[in-house]
Symmetry: C2
DNA sequence: TAGATTGTTAATCGATTAACAATC
DNA sequence: TAGATTGTTAATCGATTAACAATC
């Protein structure tokens, strides 16, 4: 539950996951110079239900839309960004400098989302004391110690499945509160810690199932 | 709806997304030489509800578990892999050879998931006719033509948000049936085409919200 | 047999969608 | 005013969880 102004706002997990799409959509409108937008319009463009959009916006907007007019685009953008916490910066460490880890380190877009990767870790000694796009790479043994010392709250796990739980435990020991896990496994974490899975295997399962159904019905 | 043997099996989207976790878990058991596993045991280790696991397994297993014993690990593994379609190979193209695109091209693990990226596309001429880990890079203009010619069914979109819809349209024009979208925007696709979003911005929203709540209650 | 586990039917829970009064 | 749009209460839908009989 979150308090904005006076009203207590409860946002479902699903609603929260829709917010970034609204944000990008609003940015597109702003770029076009559009000043106002209504829930039905957003619903149409994003292929969502009108009421759903109304509720989502109501949870985010500090002001409330105006009948017939809708919401002010710049204002809603501002509200959305602060709702998503993109204005505050969260410092993170990344563990596992393989192909994916390197890609995330190289990605400049995270700064727009309030995420800053300030250190990377790996077990490959040839990487120690090197830098990747300005981020230093440390030995994995120092993970817990450095997280604690730097008061890191987010850990990004891009190691192979077999090592993910061990890395997770080290992060938790170091005081990390949220883990972004790219390994296709379930992580056991203490009750107060969030393990957010970036579930690519699940996406592939969706793709594969859809394809099979399409190709099956084709041959009927 | 999917027919296995005689029984029509309906699997919810959420259930499908849990399957890869079962698969990895089963692989771990196999590596340890465990021969049988029960739903309650899986539920405990993966922190899921017992009934949920029972239902998920029932949807996948060709055989049915034995009371008191549970399921045969190798058999269940086999069933799970064929259920997820990891045995057939789906050919895909990737559009956008930036940091993320490069990471996905370099990732060897996709072969385990039945995915094979056979061509990549970009608008940067300096990349044309080069290869990345054995995958040739073509000019983006040839996207539609080559998809059609090679009968590609899956398109992976790793271009910036502003170009994602245009790329999506080209893929659809080329006959692609499923799109794996890494851009943080909603893609408009025809009714029969799947747009599967890899919603990293949504994950970041979850992390950010969790963190804010933790840090707030800490200061109470 | 006793007991753990299965598979399924019924109850609950949460999110989405429909209906509608309020308002600019 | 008329009509589009808002915000909210009620109904619906789908997924999760509880209860329980069947079985090895």
């Amino acid at each position: 539950m979150q308090i904005q102004g006076n009203k207590p706002v409860v946002v479902s997990k699903q609603a929260l996951q829709r917010m970034p799409y609204y944000l990008e959509y609003l940015k597109k409108l702003r770029a076009r110079g559009v000043e106002f937008v209504s829930a039905p319009m957003i619903a149409q463009d994003l292929k969502l239900n009108e009421v759903q959009v109304r509720k989502d916006l109501a949870a985010v907007s500090s002001v409330g839309g105006r009948p017939k007019t809708g919401f002010s685009v710049p204002e809603l953008l501002q509200n959305m960004e602060s709702f998503l916490g993109y204005n505050d910066v969260n410092e993170a460490v990344l563990v596992g400098v393989g192909a994916l880890g390197r890609a995330l380190l190289s990605y400049k877009g995270f700064s727009n989302y309030g995420l800053k990767i300030i250190a990377a870790f790996d077990t490959d000694p040839s990487l120690y004391n090197t830098e990747l796009r300005g981020t230093a790479i440390f030995p994995a043994e120092r993970l817990t110690e450095l997280c604690a010392r730097l008061k890191i709250r987010i850990g990004i796990v891009t190691v192979p499945a077999g090592q993910a739980q061990a890395v997770c435990d080290m992060l938790v020991a170091g005081g990390v509160l949220a883990i972004w896990n790219f390994a296709p496994i379930h992580l056991n974490v203490p009750p107060n810690i969030l393990a957010q899975n970036e579930n690519m295997a699940a996406s592939l399962a969706m793709l594969s199932k859809h394809l099979r159904q399409k190709l099956e019905t084709e041959t009927d």
